[in-house]
Symmetry: C2
Amino acid sequence: MGATASSSTDPADASAPAFSPLYQQIKSLITRSLQSGEWKPGETIPSEIELAARFRVSQGTVRKAIDELAAENLLVRRQGKGTFVATHAEARVQYRFLRLMPDAGPPEGMQRRFLDCRRLRAPAEVSRALEVKSGEATVQIRRLLLSKGRPVVLDDIWLPGALFKGLTAERLSGYQGPMYGLFEAEFGVRMIRADEKIRAVGADAPTAKLLEVASGAPLLSVERLSFTYGDRPVELRRGLYETSSHYYRNELS
Amino acid sequence: MGATASSSTDPADASAPAFSPLYQQIKSLITRSLQSGEWKPGETIPSEIELAARFRVSQGTVRKAIDELAAENLLVRRQGKGTFVATHAEARVQYRFLRLMPDAGPPEGMQRRFLDCRRLRAPAEVSRALEVKSGEATVQIRRLLLSKGRPVVLDDIWLPGALFKGLTAERLSGYQGPMYGLFEAEFGVRMIRADEKIRAVGADAPTAKLLEVASGAPLLSVERLSFTYGDRPVELRRGLYETSSHYYRNELS
DNA sequence: ACGCATTTGTTCGTATGTATT
DNA sequence: TAATACATACGAACAAATGCG
């Protein structure tokens, strides 16, 4: 068997944390290539046959590894065409992270208005969440989303400054398409999954003004921590949603 | 080859809606057995080998069918023991439907207090959601969930009366464990998945009194429609959550 | 329009490993 | 220890979708 895979005659793979099935090892090798940028979002990865040859395992073993990566939404399989690196430029992917739906009518692409984009030292709470040193540089973005001209979402976003050098309000405004698409295309940071904590809160005065609601009006507070490869947190976001004609959709399954 | 599966020499399977892969056909046969109650929640289903013999296909094909059913949380595989019908009596399953977490401390089992359980004709909105005829009998339940003695959740639940004959406040109060566990054990109705619509609302006067908050206080409104086998809606639930020391957890992946 | 090569999808068979009883 | 059941791994063949010449 190949050099990479475990072997009954040569079990001395000192570095590995523990035993794991072959397909899991292949899976982590593929993940590493994704992480390193060997294959970029939207591109195809090598065919199953090629990967099998490269890793010196059977096609079925590669297949099982890819199956799991596809189930985790890191890869997308397309019969007859190949296997592609998932990208936030695709509609399907966007709806995984965009949960606010209008009460009536089809899902809408809301207008964006960037209110602020500055660099500042991370507050304690932010640095803790993003796992950067306290006081380290972060990018802070504030934006409004509007539906039919009326404000619906106020987002405050924090990003680690080290990963997003050169991010400005102009870059944000100029980019068409989802913000996560910009992040992956321009900064090589791909959001894989996120945890959210949702509450109902009353609007404070400045927020009420921005969202054009009465002070104290009930708003949905959505606190999101997003992760990239290797479960590294790379975005903290706090959104306030005005839900009188929109709702947050969730599917329990 | 069985009577149901397609065959290259005998493609005349008139009844089937369309062609589908063998393992999909096996999957739907297994689903049918689950639905009919041939294997009950918590029990094992026959081994892969036995099922392969029963359906006249290879073990690998049965395996792929079961893989998908396990991914959909209808079955649970346990190496060395067998494959089990999923049940709401298990902790893992419960947390798929129980999203409210305390800000501090471990997940808690909240106390329940049933305020009401009556039979009445379905209001238009309810009958539409549950897909029963307008005015048909439904069961309506109202309950409070308490954490450390303080009310946190007010639930209003509607069920199709035809499926839940004999459901009373006493049955509900007497049953230890999750309500969905009662439903599956006593009424043979298993909740498979659910759609939720979440908003922020202000507490009206009666609600404020029950939840011991000020009138107009922001509450999370969670409207849930739950489905059983075959995507049949069997529960409509509207919850109001007091989120000053709890939050609704969601994972985007 | 047709056929061919490529790629993923399905199905079978077999052998061996690991967990449970 | 032995039997059982799921898990992993390999190999092989054909089907279906796609794109190219």
